[in-house]
């Protein structure tokens, strides 16, 4: 036990020592806020939250895909890419010399290794069977405390709630309408966002109904076939991009797809990509995109 802690201590001392020199060489130290906490994010939900509260993000995982799938808040090119979330590049992380690493329960098995570099905080936002919104609020608040940006975190929480309320007003005439919100996998399979996803929660908060809310058998994202969409009956359909090219080609020719009430009556809406496992900024983006698509 004591051996372990001693080793961890030595390692982190060594890491921070050499890390300081590395960071100095990289020229990322700024004059304005000398004591800003340098944050590295493994999990995207925490990455977007950290960016949204203006924390000093020095490294994050899989930025190439983040820029396509999560889009906002934009990740500046100065942030070091840590490679795949499943195969983190610890060397790049060491070079970025973070003071704090933001993780999620998915990555629990990397935590021992990550904590050799800097203290790790893991945030559980998505969990089967409950809405991720309140956990996302708590995570933003906690992150604000950890990075000394409490005010920015409170502002974010208020701003997101305000954005949702504004879009709710905008969609007032649609109140009570129900929608299925889906991702298209291929022409035959879809992922449906249930009540325990951020998508489901935001639909709810906008005064709309998630057609899949009652069906707890579908967890956050379950692959279902097209016929199951018919189960949602009259509900409108919201497709979250990206749409695979073969689906774009095949679906318009499919008699079954065209027979879905939503398709037949032209109630299919397409919105830009949204992080499927997001935090507060995702909720804001969703509310804005849905407002724009449905108003």
């Amino acid at each position: 036990m004591s051996g372990l802690t001693r080793r961890a201590l030595c390692a982190s001392a060594l890491a921070s020592l050499a890390g300081a020199s590395l960071a100095g060489a990289a020229g990322t130290a700024r004059a304005g806020e000398p004591s800003a906490v340098r944050v590295a994010a493994i999990d995207w939900a925490m990455l977007e939250t950290a960016l949204a509260i203006g924390a000093e993000v020095v490294a994050a995982a899989e930025l190439r895909l983040y820029r396509q799938m999560v889009v906002e808040p934009a990740a500046s090119p100065a942030i070091a890419d840590l490679g795949l979330r499943g195969s983190l590049n610890y060397e790049a992380l060491l070079r970025a010399a973070p003071d704090l690493i933001l993780s999620a329960p998915w990555y629990v098995k990397y935590e021992a290794n990550l904590s050799r570099i800097a203290p790790v905080r893991s945030f559980r936002i998505d969990q089967r069977g409950r809405s991720p919104y309140e956990p996302a609020v708590a995570a933003a608040r906690e992150l604000g405390r950890l990075t000394g940006r409490e005010a920015a975190a409170e502002n974010l929480i208020l701003a997101v709630a305000a954005e949702i309320d504004a879009q709710r007003e905008r969609l007032a005439r649609r109140r009570g309408e129900s929608f299925s919100i889906i991702n298209i996998g291929d022409p035959r399979h879809f992922r449906v966002f249930g009540a325990d996803s951020m998508h489901g929660h935001v639909l709810d908060r906008l005064g709309l109904r998630n057609a899949w809310a009652g069906q707890t058998r579908y967890s956050a994202q379950a692959p279902v076939d097209l016929v199951a969409l018919a189960n949602a009956g009259d509900a409108g359909i919201i497709i979250v991009r990206p749409i695979p090219s073969d689906a774009l080609r095949v679906l318009p020719e499919s008699p079954l797809w065209n027979a879905l009430p939503a398709v037949a009556q032209g109630r299919v809406h397409v919105i830009d990509p949204v992080n499927p496992f997001g935090g507060l900024p995702t909720a804001r983006r969703l509310a804005r995109l849905l407002g724009g698509a449905l108003a």
Partner: protein, 657 residues
């Protein structure tokens, strides 16, 4: 007509009728469910228009696609089996399906705009490439059945691992590629059904034209040639036909295992002896088997509301059937050739190997990359990075040495130059157990997952031993037992993976190896395991020399054959399991290193083992360095990197000798 013939015909009729009744009955059930008043569809659609549409555009085409895909696979299996005179051959055991799948995954990821018809062409090219590699690998063993299947398993694993890497690197939205890799039959229009029919009918007609050639091919080659058959040309034509059939199935519905293997064997089991009845019956039986399985899968889907891929479910049966079939194979005569080597070349060997090891170690520890430039790191950077680079290098090298030793043991004791640790199925069962842990207890840490994987490896090992024991640990029976275990675990893994989400991503990362996350403790454990397991192999090397003498000699020299084989197999399985925990399931190092060792001059078992182990470490050291630098900061899976370097070399070497 004799009574025996009559009873076999009667039995055939009974089996077909039962299967047909089941098939139609299950289809009827799914229709009834769609129209039933309290069913989900009706409840959601008060207008009542939808059930008819679902029946017409989803259920009916799905049933027809099931029949056609099954028939096509049955025919492809029958063609492959008679062309190769190999009852174990089918599109999945020859790597055709995996190659076609890989080609489509690559196309979807890199050139999605191609779409449409070329997709099938791409699948055909991928499948053909895979089968040609498999046949190239088994060429020198004159396509002996077990060797072909072992080579097919390896090429299949390589393709699957490459496909997993592409899916992993191109992001989550390709998650559906799993579903499709698992062979989901769900339909929503008639296009796939029509496309399959348009391909199956002419293919069936063409294979009927080949009937005489196929009958002749059941003779030996000189006999067939004497009767006026151009053996090589005919083989290639029939092979291409079979690949085209399975490429059509793969591009329409994905990878569907087992049917092509089972249908022709079932036909033979029920008394079909010559090419004609086998060719006629296989498509029929294939169609019935797949449609019955799909009917059952649909019934389960309706109850559980979870879309399971039919192809992966059928593939679950492939393992057991393969095992059973392999017990009916005639034993192949062990290869007695001993490659003579001069003493002189051996003396110069060790300095070169050790020097290479030292250079690779130094490079792997000292060279880094940041912002695009590759070079030696500064001293202060090195101090930070060494505690990270050293463990993963140690783990990679120890793993490489273990796999090489295991490969060496297997190749020697089975007298099969293609025997590789990957085909033992031990690593597949380790990964499956780990995947079950990830889904069942997501909060489990690395230690828990490794414990789970270790338990899985041990369970797989126990199954392997039981299977191999029934064949008295005879070389090919052992390998085929491993292939059977591996294909079962692979299918189960596919079923799990289709659930998608973050868990699937985590498992994918494991599938491609986990050297990135090695910490000093894991590295230390791996190194100690390597020492503990490689040393006994060196001590037992005399057994290997004796086993290479064939079946009678060692017994005469006082060696208890069965026990010796059990001990050596146990050692090989332990080595493989320990290595796969860090390196991932595929690397080919265990296959390559012994060949290179022989090539550079190691002759007796002990020096062969030692040289292989050193070369295995060397190869993995190179792979570690290259996988770290090639796409910085994105890291290539190390095992895959090793196999991409190794496969061309292996083909070259096998072709040359």
């Amino acid at each position: 007509m004799t009574t025996a013939a009559f009873s076999s015909r009667g039995r055939l009729l009974a089996v077909c009728l039962i299967l047909a009744a089941l098939s139609v009955g299950l289809f009827g059930w799914s229709l009834a469910e769609a129209f039933s008043a309290d069913g989900a569809i009706a409840a959601m659609d008060p207008s009542g228009r939808f059930p008819a549409l679902v029946a017409l555009h989803s259920l009916a085409p799905r049933y027809v696609v099931g029949l056609l895909a099954g028939a096509a696979l049955g025919l492809a299996g029958a063609l492959l089996q008679s062309v190769l005179r190999n009852t174990l051959a089918d599109p999945s055991s020859l790597g055709v399906a995996a190659g076609a799948h890989l080609a489509i995954v690559a196309m979807t990821a890199f050139a999605p705009e191609l779409g449409g018809f070329p997709r099938e062409g791409v699948a055909f090219a991928g499948g053909l490439m895979a089968v040609l590699i498999v046949l190239g690998l088994s060429w020198r063993r004159s396509f002996e059945p077990a060797t072909v299947v072992v080579a097919g398993m390896m090429v299949g694993l390589l393709c699957a691992s490459l496909a997993a890497t592409i899916i992993l690197y191109s992001g989550q939205y390709l998650t559906s590629l799993f579903l499709w890799g698992g062979g989901s039959l769900a339909q929503q229009n008639w296009t796939p059904a029509i496309d399959l029919a348009v391909r199956f009918v002419p293919a069936f007609a063409i294979s009927m034209l080949f009937l005489r050639s196929l009958s002749l091919l059941t003779l030996d080659d000189p006999g067939a040639r004497a009767l006026g058959l151009s053996v090589a040309g005919t083989r290639l034509a029939i092979l291409a036909l079979a690949v085209a059939l399975s490429a059509a199935v793969v591009s329409q519905v994905g990878v569907i295992g087992f049917v092509g293997l089972a249908a022709p064997n079932l036909a033979r089991l029920m008394g079909a002896r010559t090419a004609r009845p086998v060719l006629l019956l296989s498509p029929l039986l294939g169609a019935l088997m797949l449609s019955v399985t799909d009917g059952i899968v649909q019934a389960i889907d309706r109850a559980s509301r979870f879309d399971m891929p039919t192809g992966a479910v059928t593939a679950l049966f492939a393992g057991p059937v393969l095992l059973w079939l392999s017990s009916r194979l005639r034993t192949a005569r062990p290869d007695l050739r001993a490659e003579g080597v001069t003493e002189a070349s051996r003396r110069r060997l060790w300095p070169a190997v050790l020097g290479g090891l030292a250079i690779v170690t130094a490079l792997a520890l000292l060279v880094g990359r940041s912002e695009g430039t590759i070079g030696f790191d500064s001293l202060s950077t090195m101090a930070t990075l060494l505690p990270w680079r050293a463990p993963r290098l140690v783990a990679a090298m120890a793993g490489g040495a273990m796999l090489a030793t295991a490969g060496c043991l297997l190749q020697r004791m089975t007298s099969n130059p293609l025997a590789s640790p990957e085909v033992l199925g031990v690593s597949s069962s380790a990964i499956l157990a780990m995947a079950i842990c990830v889904f069942a207890a997501p909060a489990m840490g690395l230690a828990g997952q490794i414990t789970g994987a270790t338990l899985g490896a041990m369970l797989g090992f126990a199954v392997l031993i039981v299977a191999a024991r029934r064949g008295a640990f005879e070389g090919n029976r052992m390998l085929l037992g491993g292939v059977a275990l591996g294909s079962f675990c692979g299918a189960a893994l596919t079923v799990l993976m289709t659930r998608g989400g973050m868990e699937a991503g985590m498992i994918l990362a494991w599938l491609t190896g986990a050297t990135a996350h090695v910490d000093p403790v894991i590295a230390g454990v791996t190194a100690i395991l390597a020492l503990l397991l490689i040393l006994p192999a060196l001590v037992l090397s005399r057994w290997l020399d004796l086993l290479a003498l064939g079946n009678e000699m060692p017994a005469a020299l006082g060696l208890a054959m069965t026990r010796a084989r059990l001990v050596l197999l146990a050692l090989a399985a332990l080595l493989t399991g320990a290595a796969s925990l860090t390196l991932g399931p595929v690397s080919f190092v265990g296959l390559m290193a012994p060949h290179i060792a022989r090539h550079v001059g190691a002759a007796d078992a002990r020096s062969l083992l030692a040289t292989s182990a050193a070369l295995g470490a060397l190869l993995m050291g190179v792979a570690d360095l290259a996988s770290r630098l090639a796409f910085y900061p994105y890291q290539m899976p190390i095992g895959l990197f090793a196999s991409l370097i190794g496969t061309p070399y292996l083909l070259y070497m096998l072709a040359r000798r």
